[in-house]
């Protein structure tokens, strides 16, 4: 009897130990990290940098695969097909949430598991240095005085930057269509068009304009964040100028995976990512690229994504961009 008890107990212990060992073993083979962008851009380079640091923390290789095309369609199709075992993960940005509501309606925020948010990037309102617009009030006044006289450059309609402008306009009590929104193929192209004087204002990011500001070619008239940006100490926030825009609306970068990943795997990945973001190498890169560290774990990130999705849906509806 006693012997049987002991053997059962031993077996139970062994089983528990075994399963614990199995769980502790993740990851035991390479994890593919699928991106929605072609090689060479800012998102790609940050992901590659992160992958090299994660390789050290997790002890397995993280091959980065670029699946550009269709604003994330190619990447998401691969993620959707993959097993939710933690060996396939993907990059995500705010643009994805926009696409779920626009071109990639076959997916929504629930189609994927949200693993970790990495960084945020606030939106800026920039003009060329010789522009008459010196403050947000100048911009609002100019638009009210002569609707259509102010041309604003940004990424496609329905993108994060476009909604950022809508949020600002609402905070300023300005009908947003009094400003002409001109969609460019990238935010960088929009900045170039302001530099060339083809558009008067652009909605941009810190990294794209900080050198032009330092060289005296451009001026930032508003920052959509709670605090001033360290790289641009002279640029006032919108709140300082009396416009209460929702500053939680920022461009985000994060990591997602196929739906149904075990919680322990997600936690392990999120922990490793959190550690990676703290390494001096990553910190320096994030600082150099004027990004704001904004880590969120799986649960909080999923909630955040849902909240952004609700906001996106509201804006799509009110701008009748919904299809």
């Amino acid at each position: 009897m006693l012997l049987r008890f002991i053997s059962t107990a031993a077996l139970t212990v062994a089983l528990i130990a075994n399963s614990a060992a199995a769980r502790a073993e993740y990851p035991e083979r390479p994890i593919s990290y699928i991106l929605h962008v072609s090689p060479g851009g800012a998102t790609d380079i940050m992901a590659r940098k992160l992958a090299t640091v994660l390789e050290k923390t997790l002890g397995v290789p993280l091959p980065v695969e670029n699946k550009a095309g269709g604003r994330g369609a190619a990447q998401l199709a691969d993620l959707k097909k993959a097993k939710p075992d933690g060996y396939t993960i993907g990059a995500v940005t705010s643009t994805h949430i926009g696409a779920f509501n626009q071109t990639l309606k076959q997916y929504d925020v629930d189609s994927f598991d949200w693993i970790a948010r990495l960084v945020n990037e606030p939106y800026l309102v920039v003009v060329r240095n010789d522009s008459k617009l010196k403050t947000m009030k100048d911009l609002v006044d100019a638009a009210n005085a002569k609707p259509g006289s102010v041309v604003m450059a940004g990424f496609v309609r329905g993108s994060g930057g476009h909604f950022a402008w809508e949020i600002m306009a609402k905070a300023a009590n300005l009908e947003s269509n009094k400003v002409r929104w001109v969609p460019f193929d990238s935010v960088g192209d929009a900045v170039t068009s302001v530099l060339g004087g083809h558009a008067e204002v652009a909605i941009a990011y810190v990294d794209l304009v900080k050198n032009h500001v330092a060289a005296g070619n451009m001026r930032v008239i508003g920052v959509m964040a709670d605090e001033r940006v360290p790289q641009l100490p002279d640029a006032p926030t919108l709140a300082e100028q009396g416009y209460k825009a929702d500053t939680s609306w920022q461009q985000m970068r994060g990591v997602i995976g196929p739906k149904g990943m075990p919680d322990s795997v997600k936690a392990k990945l999120a922990d490793a990512i959190k550690q990676a973001l703290e390494t001096p190498d990553m910190k320096a890169y994030i600082n150099e690229s004027s990004l704001v560290p904004a880590f969120l774990g799986p649960k909080e990130f999923a909630e955040y994504a849902k909240q952004q999705d609700v906001l996106t849906k509201q804006w799509m509806q009110s701008l009748s961009l919904e299809r």
Binding site: K49, N66, R180, N211
Partner: protein, 504 residues
């Protein structure tokens, strides 16, 4: 400027920089010669290797890859009618007919020496004009880009060989294809039947299908045909001598390439086609363009390599990536905390100057590799056609796959191969289709953007000077050949009326 050069030269004293330069040239030759693997992708693949390197070493290596791959796209274009880089499609127009005549060595020699000349002269232009050129680069807004695209498309008349009507059919077919994909203004999917078409018809697949795979199908018609006899290649001195008659052509093409290169987003394909057109107009023998005129090879290759230093001007001085390859360079520098843009010449002068030096120092190495390599590569023409067809087919399909990592793109390439083969049976050339695919999106998106900007005011296209000039030139380019044709017809008609007996 002198201080900058000293800083750049000081950076060159380490053996790692020299090793990076040589490694870059060799990798660039491979990347450029493999269809589907474009300069931008090849450079991006090297980025992870540059994490641990010094910023100067990594930028020198990437520049060498960029430089060599812009040239080596001509090698498969001449040998097997398969442009390794999109701009080499224009090189193939005359390069491939030359190879069919057994003059592959001759064509390859002209292409490497033309490229080298274009690259070096254009680098010198870059060093002296980088800061002025930024104004020119920024002058291009939506209206100007639209007009530039129209100008590019109007050059179609030079590409369409004997029949202008057939050229138009091909051009319009290409423009029709560019309507597939995501709408540039509202982000709406148009004529997208498969997710693979969301960002438009995959360009590399179309290029490979229309040129390489359709050529493979043609080869299969006559697999047992004996290989073309090969003409002897002169010694290296003799090879250099081949360039003598082309000096004027090379200088002109370099200036065209450099100026087009400065315009962000315009690119080597437009440069090649403009230089090709200009040369054809000035040539004593314009009718032989398209059937193996060496001047065509020289013009296309000189200008597409001259384009590359041009593209570096807005990248260095403004931080604007004009195309995929310069975007990768910006990314590679960002890793090391160096941001190209208005401050680079004061904060990191060693970066632009080491780029200049590597362009100049790397060139002789690239030329030697090219001149001696020519002897090796021409042997490819002695392999039986059936074998060549199989190899080309395999390399091309692998190339399309590696570009997108999507099996769908292979089917697109095969589809275009069949279309291209069918079109060749009715004597429709693929070059105008490629031109339309390159310029169609640029034309449409900027047309609509310009109208959104102006509030649907059509006059923007004529009130902006650059746009007005481009549109006027394209009108002239477009109408002139039509008038000439009509006149020629009338003259023959008059002759026929005078001698009714001889009319046929």
């Amino acid at each position: 400027m002198l201080e900058g050069f000293t800083a750049g030269l000081a950076a060159f004293s380490s053996w790692q920089v020299i090793a990076g330069l040589f490694a870059g040239v060799v990798v660039g030759y491979l990347v450029g010669a493999l269809p589907g693997l474009s300069a931008g992708v090849g450079m991006a693949l090297l980025i992870p290797f540059t994490f641990g390197l010094d910023p100067v070493v990594s930028v020198v290596m990437l520049i060498a890859v960029y430089m060599a791959s812009e040239y080596s796209g001509a090698i498969p274009a001449i040998l097997v009618n398969t442009p390794g880089e999109p701009s080499a499609a224009i090189t193939a127009l005359d390069g491939y007919p030359m190879r069919k005549r057994g003059e592959a060595g001759h064509a390859l020699t002209l292409s490497i020496l033309g490229s080298a000349f274009g690259s070096v002269l254009s680098t010198i232009l870059l060093i002296f004009s980088v800061s002025w050129m930024t104004k020119f680069a920024l002058a291009f807004g939506p209206a100007e880009y639209f007009a530039l695209a129209v100008l590019g498309l109007s050059l179609i008349s030079t590409l369409s060989g004997s029949s202008i009507i057939r050229g138009f059919v091909a051009l319009l077919f290409g423009l029709l294809l560019t309507t597939i994909g995501t709408d540039p203004v509202d982000g709406l999917p148009r004529f997208v039947f498969d997710d693979g078409f969301l960002s438009g018809v995959p360009f590399v697949s179309a290029l490979i299908g229309l040129f390489a795979l359709s050529e493979v199908l043609r080869m299969l018609e006559t697999t047992d045909e004996p290989t073309t006899p090969m003409r002897d290649i002169p010694g290296v001195n003799g090879q250099l001598g081949l360039m003598k008659p082309h000096m004027g052509n090379m200088v002109r093409s370099t200036f065209i390439g450099y100026i087009v290169g400065v315009i962000p987003g315009a690119g080597a394909t437009i440069a090649s086609i403009v230089a090709y057109t200009v040369q054809k107009r000035l040539s004593k023998d314009p009718d032989s363009f398209g059937s193996g005129n060496p001047e065509g090879v020289v013009a296309a290759e000189t200008s597409n390599n001259a384009c590359m230093p041009g593209a570096l001007a807005p990248m260095l001085a403004l931080g604007i990536p004009g195309k995929a390859s310069t975007a990768v360079l910006i990314g590679a520098l960002a890793i090391h905390g160096v941001a190209p843009g208005p401050l680079i010449f004061t904060q990191h002068p060693e970066i632009p100057y080491s780029i200049y030096i590597s362009l100049l120092v790397g060139m002789p190495f690239m030329v030697l590799l090219g001149l001696y390599g020519t002897r090796l590569w021409v042997r490819l023409t002695q392999i039986p056609r059936g074998v060549i067809a199989a190899i080309v087919c395999a390399v091309c399909l692998l190339g399309t796959f590696s570009e997108s990592k999507d099996i769908f793109s292979i089917w697109v390439a095969v589809g275009f191969g069949i279309i291209g083969y069918g079109l060749s049976k009715v004597h429709i050339e693929p070059a105008p289709i490629i031109l339309a695919l390159v310029l169609g999106y640029m034309m449409e998106s900027n047309f609509r953007r310009a109208l959104v900007m102006s509030g649907d005011e059509m006059t923007v296209f004529v009130s902006h000077p650059i746009s007005a000039i481009c549109l006027a030139i394209s009108l002239i380019v477009f109408v002139l050949p039509l008038i000439q044709t009509v006149r020629r017809r009338r003259r023959t008609a008059v002759k026929a009326a005078a001698y009714p007996g001889k009319a046929a």
